[in-house]
Amino acid sequence: MQVGSLGIGAAVLATVAVVAAWPAALRAADLDVFVGAARDAAVPDAVIALRPHDASLSPPAAAPATKTIDQKNETFLPYVEVFRPGDSVVFRNSDQTRHHVYSFAPARQFEFVLTPGQSSAPLHLESTGAIAVGCNIHDHMITYLYVSDAPWTARSGADGHARVATLPPGDYDVSVWHPQLRPGQAPPTQTLHVDAANAAATLRFALALLPDLRRGPDRERVDY
């Protein structure tokens, strides 16, 4: 399981530790979501958001965190990062070139140039939504800051699997977001019922994805 951020990773680890301590009393379940595209190709970097129908099931909010988006080899790393409102983001330029980092996203708009080795000041993220960040010098550099207030979020790994551990029994809306989903449309959502008797649950999402903008437009193909 790949952990997107240290903060969340620690919380999950803590939760796992709790479940391990009181498995019978909590009766929690693990959720495994598989995100696939056409022909079941694994879709990495999809963000799974779970919202319980019963708000009381939500775990307590974690403390605001600051996450760093590195710029290495003219690539934003990671491609998708999940934030909670109140989190901050820092852009670090690990390349030998300048990077002109910008965003026109309604959730957070900014623009600055990072010289090699420079890190930006932390940018506070308050509004939810996907913030597409690009480099005006390198069109193929793009990263998404996904700001979500959902109690559980998870990011799919290279194998397309996103896992959420120790879900309390109950009903959930499970939505998925991905940068290549068609913009302007509601994210695909499924409801999930976690039964106390079942220790594991699985979900599958099949997404129709647009081309990966990191690769730039397909210069050899223009559709008539």
Partner: protein
Amino acid sequence: MSFRVRLASFLVVTLALLQIATALLVYGVTRRELVQQGEQQLVLASRAFARQLDDVSLRVADNVQVLTLDFALRSAIAQRDRNTVVSALRNHGRRVGATRMLLVGLDGTIEADSAESGAPLAKFPFPDLAESALEHPSAAVVAWDGRAYWIVVVPVTAPALIGLIAAAIPVDDPFLARLQEESTLPNAIELAAQTAPGKWEVLAHGNGTIALTPSVTSRSEGLPSKPVSLAVNGREYVALATRLESSDASAPIVAVLGYSIDDALRPYRSVASAWGVLLALGLVFGLVAALIIARGVSRPIEALAATARRIAAGDYSAPAPIAQRDEVGELALTLAHMARAIGEREERIRFQAGHDAITGLPNRVAAEAAIERELAQRDGAHGALLLITLARLPEITKTVGHGISDRVMRDAAARLRQAGGAALLARATDTEFLLWLPHVQEADAIALAFRALDALDEPYSEAEFRIDAAPAVGVALCPQHGTQFSPLLQRAEVALFAALNAEEPVLVYDPASDPHRPERLALMTDLRDAIERDELALHYQPKLHLPNGRIDGAEGLARWVHPRQGAIPPDRFIPLAEETGNMRRLTRWVLAAGIARARAWQRGGRHLRLALNLSVRDLEDAELPQRVGELLTAHGVAPDRLLLEITESAVMHKPEAAIRVLRRLADQGIELALDDFGVGQSSFAYLRRLPVRELKIDKSFLLKLAEGAEDRTIVRSIVELGHRLGYSVTAEGVSDQATLDYLTQIGCDHAQGFFIARPMTAEALDAFLAAAEPATP
């Protein structure tokens, strides 16, 4: 049509046909090739056209894509700065050659429009293009407001997808023209949109001037996706319609590509005209060559034909030699040989036709022609025709054969040629030569005749034979005996026969003695008429029975009194009748008249035996005995009342036949007498075979009986001998009493003669008998 013309025509026509066929073949092949080439080109061109559109799409999309990356534009879009966006769109639109640029929201709404006029659009009219542009730039040719546009839609990212920019680039005539110029596209390209089912509207055409679309789209088979041939305004095209991928929202659009066969053929026009000139030159050259060749062939043939005509006309002189070592030359040589051979053969035939094969002399026909020719040339001049015969030649032939007689004739011919000198010598018949002496009178002719005889006098001798051919000559003179060959020959022949008969060596024709004179023929006709008209009369000369001094018989003698010539003696008309075949007719009349008279005598109680003469011709008549018998029966006359007299010579002519006839007469009881007995050649031995009862001593013995003791002895011997042999004997020609007395004295049975009575008519005989009756009781 002459051979030459035909040959020339054949060559020229062959040449022309060959050329035309080649031209047609080349034209067909070229044209087919061009059409195929055109079709291939069209297919390639349609692909190329599509590729070019792709390229343009890429380029335009690239350009537009680059525009979208403009940070200012992106920020203006992202920040919804509409005015800035519109101005930027206009600016960028000019850069890529778009006449209209649109900013399309992700939901399809028009967020900005570079168009300065016209109704503002709410929705992007080609949603399918916008849809696919979300994934990658899309482009399509669309029909939009009656024009063709190149619509390129590219996504705008900032850096996420925030909208679409659509560029509308007009696909107009200059656009197509540019495409054509930049490539090998055919010069006829049209873009057409289907405005209604089956109805197509041309949106753009390149620099082509021909409207192909109506012809292409009006085809009942539909749009030709493969190359088809069609005619537009009388010009031929290969055309192809390529459906262009368009927006679903647009009317269907096709690109019509045409390939002009005529244009493709244009470079070949000059080739064709050059070809035509070559063909004409070839024809002229061929014609001249053909005429020359044909002349080379036909001239000798014409010469040969002329030669053949000459040969046909009888000119066998050698034809002009043809110095050709081919079939014609050989033919000419053969023709020359043939002409020579024909000439020789004709010469031989002509010689044979005009010459006698044995003696080599001209034959009668040739001689006649030559003599007639000469006679015609010199009218009425003198000449003599000598006819020389070897009288014994038939006998020689029969005795020793034709071989020797031929050699005899050849020898005689040689001798006569020598004797005759320049005279024309010919062989007239098997046994006769003919010698024509021009310009000679009778004396010279006779002299030459004797010379000829002298030449033939020496007998022909060969081995053991010595042959005396007994030559004789008859001469006819021109103009006395005729002025033409035919009468001259005939008269010479008469003279020759006369000479043979007279045993004279040479005789000149004598008209008086000619038995074949024309007047004899007239007399003949008269005699026949006389017999038919019963103009002849039968006179009777009484026969005196010497022992009792009574007339007991009479000899009937025919008499003819010609209406104009008067009495004609029997020795004139009887030979005539014998020679002209009228003897039997005469005999029949004599028998009829005589037997009728005998009946009258029988009825009148006169015991007279009628004696009638039979000719040599009668003895050849096998029907004679029957006819005589019938006459006797018809008249009721006893056979023994008739005595038929025949001459010795008549019997000797054809003895066997004569004896048969005589036997049959004798068998009927008819008495037979041998007339003119004593001068013939018959022997008694022969006589014994004849059924004769009576001998009539020839009157030559009796005429001078009174003076000649010899004759008396002969007569008496005949009488005695006759009696001893059982014949009764009659003496005729009794002309005096002494003779009668002597006959009575030697016991002759009957006497007849002027002294007793001349021949007389039947009435006179009656009177004569009546007068004599009383004297003899």
